[in-house]
């Protein structure tokens, strides 16, 4: 018998019926498939982190098949000649073997590392988007907090992960972490002894880090990511203000087929980029660093980029050690390393609550804010970004000093001054810029767009012709309310000239293939031209 697709007799319908008999799916499935998602490119930044994470699970599982988290001393006898006969830990040997003796092991290692960098970078950029548009406000404070926790879980997962190969560079990082741990008053030495099983480096830390890296932290990440995404789903995504968009609706397209296809496509795109990068760009060539030895270090010892701001803070902080000889010492590194990190966790975590309190804003917000419309928050955000960037640059100040022939001490002092002055200047400038942009929005709404056409009246006075956005009163004013949404600033944004192309490589405002705009050219403004 011939079956026709799309009718009630089709095989699909039958299978669906059988499933529904058992699991009662018809209602929820319809609900999920029809769910409306708002669309904006910036809503996809967090997805990059999600897709990188999936790839991290896949590549990490491959690596775990070959990596041996053991600090047993062995003598290298692999195919990498420069290290033959060198004593090292089994962990380092198996990481070398992954790169040299395992077919395709090197690209897997590099994919794992590149995906980590992309994971952390996209979390940061996603966080900036959420922050500057006020998407963390009620009812979404919980999800913001989960996001911050995800960053810090990723931070430690990444740090512990690149410590596992037990190479010269990562061992140095571990040594610094140990110095920071020791600096904590009263418990520091005990915590350090517990972590390393005695004196640094001991022979247990890699095995401990391994179970944390492959089980505990991924479990935490997976659980939090699940809740994070589920909350976005349940609470419905925020949307930009615009025509027809209110606090009580969501305008966009359906989850199926539109959203899901874009998601799958985007995921494969991210994976493709990471894979190609991992084939073409070397990362963390551990065989060049040698095994970790407490007495060996090289210049340009930098952590991965997301740890660098911590390293920068530690470099910049002055040598303020408090000593009450011979009873008590509070090392300088305690302030940037432990207090600094603690504040970096707590302040962002609590920010939604602080803003709620200080702005006395108790409402629910489903419409996003343009950064300019909340100058205080935007300036605060830029302030933190500047602080972070100064920290990151200072984390590599020896490399900058070397590359640009600057005195190392000058770099350090520039960082010390910059990290105090920079954020303050940034706050002030951002605030002024926000106010200026706000003012310009109001100006355009009241007086219209600048046309670029200069006119001269019979008195000899020059003036610029403005294009009002609505029917003006007798003074040429329009009474348009600012709606929190985008205001056109150029004539071609209101369709007077051919639109300036928007889009990165290619226009994203292409005329419809079968639309009326194809081939049609609008008249240029002739007025004022000779």
């Amino acid at each position: 018998m011939k079956r026709r697709k799309g009718t009630s007799e089709s095989l699909m319908t039958k299978a669906g019926g059988e499933l529904d008999d058992r699991f009662k799916l018809a209602g929820p499935a319809r609900n999920i498939m029809n769910k409306v998602f708002p669309d904006h490119w910036s809503f996809l930044l967090g997805e990059i982190a999600l897709f990188s994470f999936i790839l991290l699970l896949l590549t990490g599982t491959f690596l775990a098949l070959f990596f041996e988290p053991s600090m047993t001393h062995v003598v290298y006898d692999g195919s990498y000649v420069p290290l033959q006969g060198v004593g090292m830990s089994k962990a380092y040997e198996s990481a070398l073997n992954l790169s040299f003796e395992v077919r395709g092991g090197l690209i897997m290692r590099q994919m794992h590392h590149w995906a980590t960098l992309l994971f952390m970078a996209s979390i940061l950029v996603h966080m900036l988007r959420i922050f500057f548009t006020g998407a963390f406000r009620a009812p979404r404070e919980t999800n913001w907090m989960i996001g911050i926790l995800l960053f810090w879980l990723g931070f430690f997962e990444g740090f512990i992960g690149y410590s596992l190969p037990d190479d010269g560079l990562s061992g140095t990082g571990l040594r610094i972490a140990e110095g920071m741990t020791e600096s904590v008053p009263f418990v520091g030495p005990w915590v350090s002894a517990a972590l390393f099983g005695g004196a640094f480096p001991g022979d247990e830390v890699i095995a401990r880090f391994y179970i944390i890296h492959v089980f505990l932290l991924p479990l935490g990440l997976l659980a939090l990511i699940t809740v994070h995404v589920a909350l976005v789903f349940v609470q419905k995504h925020t949307q930009w203000p615009g025509p027809g968009r209110t606090e009580h609706n969501v305008v966009g397209f359906r989850m199926f087929p539109n959203y899901i296809m874009k998601q799958v496509g985007f995921m494969l795109l991210i994976w493709g980029v990471i894979t190609a990068m991992s084939g073409l760009f070397q990362i963390n060539p551990i065989w060049l660093f040698g095994p970790y030895e407490a007495s060996i270090v090289s210049s340009a010892s930098q952590p991965d980029f997301y740890v660098m701001f911590m390293d920068g803070l530690i470099r910049l902080f002055p040598s303020w050690e408090f000593r009450a000889a011979p009873y008590f010492t509070l090392p300088a590194v305690f302030w940037p390393g432990i207090v600094g990190m603690g504040l970096s966790v707590m302040l962002p975590l609590l920010y939604p609550l602080l803003e709620r309190r200080f702005a006395k804003d108790r409402g629910h917000h489903n419409l996003l804010q343009r950064p300019r419309d909340n100058p205080a928050r935007t300036s605060l955000g830029v302030m933190v970004v500047v602080l972070w960037v100064v920290g990151v640059v200072s984390g590599g100040n020896d490399v900058f000093a070397h590359a640009f022939h600057i005195s190392l001490n000058a770099m350090t002092w520039a960082g010390r001054i910059g990290i105090v002055v920079g954020p303050i200047v940034a706050y002030y400038l951002t605030y002024r810029i926000c106010l200026g942009l706000q003012q310009h929005d109001r100006e355009v709404l009241a007086h219209g767009l600048e046309t670029g056409i200069l006119m001269r009246d019979p008195d000899g006075r020059f003036y610029e012709v403005h294009q009002p956005l609505a029917e003006p009163d007798e003074h040429g004013h329009t009474e348009l309310e600012y709606s929190g949404s985008w205001v056109p600033k150029k004539m071609n944004r209101v369709g007077v000239l051919e639109p300036t192309d928007r889009g990165f490589f290619k226009s994203i405002e292409e005329p419809e293939d079968n639309g009326a705009r194809k081939g049609e050219r609008r008249d240029e403004i002739e007025a004022g031209k000779q």
Binding site: E178, P189, G265, M277, A300, S319, A332, N397, D513
Partner: protein, 371 residues
């Protein structure tokens, strides 16, 4: 199937109506999920038009291209020579193994991604829908039901009427919680003297015999092995002395020029004068930075500074290695030096103050504050 609706919501339809089209039923489903179609039309006005066919061909070729590259990846993975055979040039095929894997698999993923994305952006209908949010909690009824349900449960259990039972339960559960985390105590280890005693400690590591100095390869160190102005890293000449087992023992042995040695002698802290820490023009400093423990191993002969490459602390070799720049706050401890009858360097004692990063109960000496 274009549908432009005004503010008015579409009315509920009668599902038993035999004249309903599939789309009518579908729209009723949307309506029940509080969704309204604002705009919905096929991407191409005429189905099967030339442009549409062309787009289908493009998407199809991307899918096929993806399959081609995936096949190439598998072929390369299996048959391309990959085994590392020492340093290779770009002419050797194994140099290209990883790049080829990356490019083929990457292109395969990118092409399939573009195919799916193009399908979504160029072939799916143009649509805009609006869905109601139901923000701000449940209905008053639901809240009341929930409240009464919880109250009933609380009442059934008698949580309020039986305070003693509640307290007993808490008192019983708290130790159990403690018992659950207690096994973590297996991690706890008394730090003991791990931060204060190094491999140079004769009593602990060498049966009371002074610990000699050795190089990494185990060769004992004699004064003639270091040229004037030179430095070497030395380790305690004990079992595993150069290994990470003694991570705070590595020491820099520096042979100063005669006049520099004089300067240092003049600057010497009293505690180092007392033990006569220098030997001739030789001085030995702990290599472990007093900031957070990296090896402070860059010796700048001209300015007589030691630099730690991790956080750029700088120490003045001619002044007890006191910090002159950067985040380190304490000098690198000096190892009192001697040369035994056989002409080998040895440590007269362990470091007088603990080397490496500070900790809260670090036994410090007043001399350390001298500048």
């Amino acid at each position: 199937m274009s549908a432009h609706n005004d503010d008015k919501r579409p009315d509920e339809v009668d599902l038993s109506d035999p004249k309903l089209s599939r789309f009518d039923v579908y729209r009723e489903g949307l309506r029940r999920d509080d969704i309204e179609i604002l705009h919905y039309e096929p991407r191409y006005a005429k189905p099967g038009s030339k442009v549409e066919k062309r787009m289908e061909r493009i998407v199809a070729s991307m899918f096929l291209g993806s399959g081609l590259f995936a096949t190439l990846f598998v072929v390369a993975y299996i048959w391309w020579p990959w085994e590392y055979e020492g340093a290779a040039t770009w002419r050797d095929p194994q140099t290209w193994y990883t790049p080829i894997l990356g490019v083929t698999l990457g292109l395969s993923l990118l092409l399939i991604a573009l195919a799916v994305l193009t399908w979504a952006k160029k072939l799916l209908p143009v649509e805009e829908l609006v869905q109601d949010r139901h923000d701000g909690g449940s209905s008053p009824d639901d809240r009341r039901f929930a409240e009464s349900t919880v109250d009933t449960v609380v009442d059934d259990m008698g949580l309020k009427r039986r305070p003693f039972l509640v307290k007993a339960a808490l008192l019983g559960a708290a130790p159990l919680g403690l018992a659950a985390v207690a096994p973590l105590g297996g991690l706890i280890k008394d730090p003991g003297d791990m931060l204060t005693v190094t491999g140079w400690n004769a009593e602990k590591h060498n049966d009371g015999e002074p610990v000699r100095m050795m190089m990494k390869d185990g060769a004992l160190v004699r004064p003639d092995m270091v040229a004037t102005g030179g430095q070497i890293t030395v380790y305690p000449a004990i079992e595993g002395g150069a290994s990470n087992e003694f991570a705070s023992s590595p020491t820099l042995l520096i042979r100063l020029r005669a006049q520099d040695a004089e300067t240092l002698r003049d600057n010497l802290f009293p505690m180092y004068q007392d033990v006569d820490a220098l030997w001739g023009d030789f001085v030995a400093y702990s290599k472990i930075c007093t900031h957070v423990g990296c090896p402070a191993s860059l010796y700048e002969q001209q300015s007589q500074r030691l630099l730690c490459p991790c956080h750029q602390s700088q120490f003045n070799v001619l002044d007890n290695a006191t910090p002159v720049f950067g985040p380190a706050a304490r000098h690198l401890p000096m190892l009192p030096l001697g040369v035994d009858d056989e002409g080998f360097f040895y440590a007269k004692s362990d470091f007088l103050v603990p080397p490496g990063p500070a900790f809260w109960n670090r036994p410090s000496l007043p001399e350390e504050d001298e500048q």
